[in-house]
Amino acid sequence: MRLLGVLVRVEALKAVKRPAFWVTVGVFVAFSAIANFAPGGGSERAGFPDAWRGIIEPAINLGPVFLAALMILLFAPEFRWRTARQNVIDGLSKEQFQWAKVLLLAALAALFFVTSLVIGTLPFVLDPGGGGGAFVEPMDLNYMLGFVVALLLWGTAALMISALVRAAGAGLGLLFLYFICEQIVTALLSSRWSALERFFAYLPGQLFQTITNSAVYYPEVLARTNAARAERDQELLVYPDLWIPLVAATAYVVLFLGLAYVNMRRRDL
């Protein structure tokens, strides 16, 4: 318990005194505020529970990317500054140092999640709308769960890349390059071999797109989208059971954490 307190205190001090932390969170807050407050943007002003989809939609796309960038900015330089090695010399084991970063990731994910909801609900606090019935519906809770998994998917990918690459610039480049390349490669190969699509659906980037898509959670959104596609003679969208992509994404979270852990144990600092 004392160790947990030490790790939290140390990581909090490192993070809140880092200008990059405030800049990244500040930019995220600014984007979220624009998305929620701008005319025509943000939530449906009908009040709860209908508003949740509009609140989460901008956050679920922005939040994970900002979280990943911040995670790399806070973690990777510890190797260049050799403070990772100094933390171990000062008394942490390499495994404890790694756990400190997992705690940091959990705290940042919670921060982005709560901040998104606070900013999203603010318009309703300032201007209460109509609405009625339950405050939140099960599909809204599922969408929030999807948001959390999306945050952890990008966050653990960033943590793993930081531990492997040990440089912030290269880490950021590699993370975003991977997701861009995955999109391009899967699109090219799927157009030639459609059978591969089922396999590609379980790649991290494709899973991220699936679990952040509101049509997966809200049948009326899927119906609206498919109606529009039908008018254009396009193939109708069919999504697997919600739990399959969520479990697959969670499996990636565990895999990324495991790889980071093994890497930390094996490599010298």
């Binding site: 030490v6 205190r9 001090l13 010399i89």
Partner: protein, 311 residues
Amino acid sequence: MAVIETAELTKRFPAVLAVDRVSLTVEQGQVFGFLGPNGSGKTTTIGMLMGIIKPTAGSFRLFGAGAPRDLLAARARVGATLETPNFYPYLSGRDNLRIAAAIKGIGKARIEECLEIVGLRGRGKHRFRTYSLGMKQRLALAATMLNDPELIVLDEPANGLDPKGMKEVRDIIRLLADRGKTIFLSSHLLWEVERTCTHVSIVRKGRVVGTGTVAEIVGGEVTAVVRSEDDEVLRAALEAFPEATSVRASDEGLVVALASDDLAALNRYLAGQGIYVSHLARRHRSLEDAFMDLTGEDGDVGQASLTEFVS
């Protein structure tokens, strides 16, 4: 009581054998100098002791502890810094110490005490990146002292310092030694080590080539400085002299280590070879001489830096 014990400690990187079967013992209260040219494996050896580098083979004990869990507890009795001072550049000196103190389980009062000892209390609130190299080294010393450790490990603590900074660091090391701390000091500044340490080990290409008290390492060998018009001819002659155990170049001339102290015999021998010396003088053998003989690599240890600090 042995504070550090290593047995056949070895580290092999893909391209190089950095530490080759190093066995040494550091007893409580010793100020132990760990000497070697750059790249001889000093930092790698310390890194293994501190748990940041995995040994390829061999073993070590800290305060008698050898198992991983016990070593973690034993390291709580150690204060160490490796190579350059490793701190968060955007944090103040005081905040950097707060991080080290939190990990070591030390309170705020001790942070101020350590800043005071190293003369940084007035600059504690300034960011680490604004510190001079001397201040950074002093902050590293403050960090090592936080938990009032029984063993202090310092890796090149005077690296890059001007003479004033070196004196400040030396004074702090002496202060710690006077307080009965065991100090393991890695350095290639031999004059500093000779003045500070009670015991030394000399490593070359990852292997220990000499170990003992400073007096034992310096030894009773006679050395002489010899100069003549033609150094190359002189060197060849000295190397062929039966009583010569080693010959190396220095700023003063050729330094020859002799098995006996009969300089007249050397003079006669050289004259017999047709070499008339312009200078022949007995010389006090220093740790630098012993180091050069044991490492056997003229110029491989940064000759300029050595002579700069020896003179």
